[in-house]
């Protein structure tokens, strides 16, 4: 009962002008930060930290937590409307969100992403409230071999993303993994493939690469197609917004993805992007119509958005319970807490229950504020899709360039964005999907560091000596093999039907 009374006290704290303004302002800032390619949730939170010096710890956390929640949704707006994911995790949203826009149904994509984000965020927060302590204990028991197994499981999702082009998808994933090895080796300090270029010492920055591969390659593809005379991006109609029963059909997908997202969010270093990829994969495998994924399936949008939003709740578990930041954003949050002389960790719940439970209450409420603001905003954001292409394409280029520059204030990043945009255009032309490259880059660090740590700790046999690691690896093998066998059979059938041609 302590939990409920604490939670009620937390809600009570939100009744007041300052906390309410912080909540709404945080959500609006979060949406804008998420929607702007190049600005990540961690940057949004970091930028607002100086403004919290004079605020109370509770209000500070309400403001920063609201930004964190809303930024994950904000990334989906540009992913759905112009195929330019605002955050790495919304890459997965674009798989079906953007095809929906091209089909003239941007409202379905935006509406589904908003509702799935809201529900996912609420489920993630509820899991955080009720299970944070046992989940926190679990988080410190995770062995590097299990992290490696999780990364391999994430990579296995390529098999279902690939469709008929599985070899190309795996080649693309391998390229992403390889690109991730460029730079100074985090374990031994050896320079790898940098050719003496100091910009490469930290490797390629993910955000500019992602913007290049998605946004710029899309611009180049459209320019090459040359169908610019069809003035508008999509001839949407007001009636294309989902109805309540359309949302209801997605309930299982949203629930499952939210649980997956929260659990993966708990793994320090895993985060929203991996959660979104794995949830999308699971949604596709369990769907009655997997063939529609990638062609404008609202279930795909819901899976990705529910997972990335719920991962926020998961990521806060190790932060609050153990004082371990599991992501860049939670690392900034730790800094913000310490400014106010609050040390996250096991004693936080005992010494500062007011701070913890007002944060929990704010996170829950922020999701509802997000829903309301998102519903109003969607009517505005959908207008992006009726901008003439001749205006939209140069504008996307300008946004991409300033977005790439804003990450590290580096022209090298801008150049890599343009380079990857050009490469992405060529790769897409020849049927190589670009999403596995991003997946490879996201998982590469996690896979490599933990593979090497695990081998150093227990030799190569360590992966088969821990039950959790074995189970995750077996799941990965099944996740890898089943879509490949299905595709092989489909290809065989297709060849038989077309007489071998």
């Amino acid at each position: 009962m302590d939990l409920f009374s604490n939670l009620l006290t937390g809600f009570g704290y939100l009744v007041g002008i300052q906390p309410a303004v912080a909540l709404v302002a945080g959500v609006i800032m979060g949406i804008l930060v998420g929607a702007m390619p190049g600005l990540s949730p961690s940057m949004g939170v970091a930028l607002l930290v100086p403004f919290t010096y004079k605020l109370s710890p509770q209000v500070s956390l309400i403001l920063l937590g609201s930004i964190y929640i809303a930024a994950n949704y904000g990334g989906s707006i540009t992913a759905v409307t112009i195929n330019t994911p605002g955050t790495p995790s919304s890459v997965v949203t674009s798989f079906d969100g953007y095809p929906l826009t091209r089909l003239g149904k941007p409202g379905v994509g935006l509406g589904t992403s908003l509702v799935a984000s809201t529900v996912g965020g609420i489920i993630g927060t509820i899991i955080l409230i009720f299970f944070s302590v046992p989940l926190g204990r679990l988080a410190i028991k995770i062995h590097p071999s299990e992290y490696f197994a999780l990364a391999i499981f994430g990579l296995a999702t390529v098999a279902s993303l690939a469709g008929r082009n599985w070899a190309k998808a795996f080649l693309a994933a391998m390229l992403g993994l390889f690109i991730n090895t460029i730079g100074i080796d985090p374990i031994s300090g050896v320079e790898r493939f940098t050719f003496g270029i100091y910009h490469l010492f930290d490797g390629f920055t993910l955000i500019p690469v992602l913007i290049g591969l998605f946004a710029l390659s899309e611009v180049f593809t459209r320019l090459e197609e040359g169908k610019l005379e069809k003035e508008k991006e999509s001839e949407f109609q007001r009636s294309t917004w989902p109805r309540v029963r359309d949302y209801w059909k997605l309930k299982l997908t949203v629930l499952r993805s939210s649980i997956i997202g929260t659990l993966i969010g708990i793994f320090p270093g895993a985060g929203a992007t991996i959660a979104a990829f794995i949830s999308y994969d699971v949604a596709k495998k369990t769907s009655k119509h997997p063939q529609t994924f990638g062609k404008g399936e609202p279930e795909g949008v819901a899976a990705a958005e529910a997972a990335n939003s719920s991962s926020v709740g998961g990521a806060l578990v190790p932060l609050l319970v153990l004082g371990i930041p599991g992501s860049a954003t939670t690392a900034v949050l730790i800094g913000a807490l310490m400014i106010h002389n609050v040390t996250p960790g096991p004693l936080l719940f005992v010494n500062h229950p007011d701070i913890v439970y007002s944060l929990f209450a704010a996170l829950l409420l922020a999701n509802f504020v997000l829903l309301v603001l998102g519903l109003f905003g969607s009517r505005l954001w959908i207008k992006v899709t009726v901008i003439p292409k001749k205006v939209l394409l140069p504008t996307i280029l300008v946004i991409s360039i300033v977005g790439s520059f804003a990450v590290h204030y580096s022209f090298f990043d801008v150049a890599s964005c343009v380079g990857f945009g050009f490469a992405g255009w060529l790769l897409r032309k020849y049927g190589f999907p670009v999403a596995p490259i991003v997946l490879g880059m996201v998982l590469g660090g996690l896979a490599e560091t933990n593979f090497r740590r695990a081998v150093i700790m227990g030799g190569y046999g360590v992966f088969f000596s821990r039950p959790a690691s074995i189970i995750i690896l077996l799941l990965a093998i099944a996740s890898f093999a089943i879509p490949l066998i299905q595709t092989h059979n489909e290809n065989k059938k297709l060849r038989a039907e077309t007489g071998g041609n």
């Binding site: 600005l39 080649l171 390229l175 993994l177 031994s188 140069p394 504008t395 280029l397 343009v418 150093i456």
Partner: protein
């Protein structure tokens, strides 16, 4: 091991690059002259990746290995290179066995290259004229090149973007957008 050490650094690496480029050039020439020219892209992509894999393989074989653990900086990149090579060979075989479709038709490639050049020029101009002036020029020129002639929209968009980027990026987020060396010289 001597040859690998030679090819992995200095003039040896240059020899390696030239050799790979030469072989790639020969494959391009041979493919375009053969009956498989309609599959040229499907063949050349995997060949390109195989060439890259060879270059990076030689580089990583020169990485130091920790004797105690036996797991040096090159182990994981080697794993990915083996994967890239394996899938490249698979795609190459598929293309040679007619299992791959013909190359896609090329559309307005000229427009893509003009735009790419325009983007590069924009980035160069940004160094001299600064972010704001070069962005206005890029937006107006980019829309004009695509035959868009509604000047009200063009100027409105350019001005709107300038205001947004000034307030959002420069003032609020403190992103040091380039001021331009020429303008700095004149105006300090």
């Amino acid at each position: 091991m001597g040859i690998i050490r030679y090819l992995g650094q200095g003039s040896g690496f240059l020899v390696l690059l030239l050799a790979v480029l030469f072989v790639f050039g020969v494959v391009v020439f041979a493919t375009l002259r053969s009956s498989r020219r309609h599959h040229a892209g499907r063949i050349l992509f995997p060949v390109f990746f195989l060439g890259l894999s060879l270059i990076f393989l030689i580089l990583l074989l020169n990485f130091p290995v920790k004797k105690q653990t036996g797991i040096g900086a090159g182990v994981v990149p080697l794993l990915w290179i083996v994967g890239i090579s394996a899938f490249s060979v698979l795609l190459l075989v598929r293309a040679l066995l007619n299992r791959e479709a013909k190359d896609p038709e090329w559309g307005h490639v000229g427009t893509v290259f003009v735009y790419l050049g325009w983007t590069i020029l924009y980035l160069i101009l940004m160094q001299y004229l600064g972010y704001f002036i070069s962005t206005v020029l890029f937006l107006l020129g980019g829309m004009y090149y695509l035959n868009y002639r509604n000047w009200k929209v063009m100027i409105g968009l350019a001005a709107g973007w300038l205001l947004f980027s000034y307030f959002a990026f420069y003032r609020l987020l403190f992103v040091p957008l380039p001021a331009g060396t020429l303008l700095e010289r004149f105006f300090g």
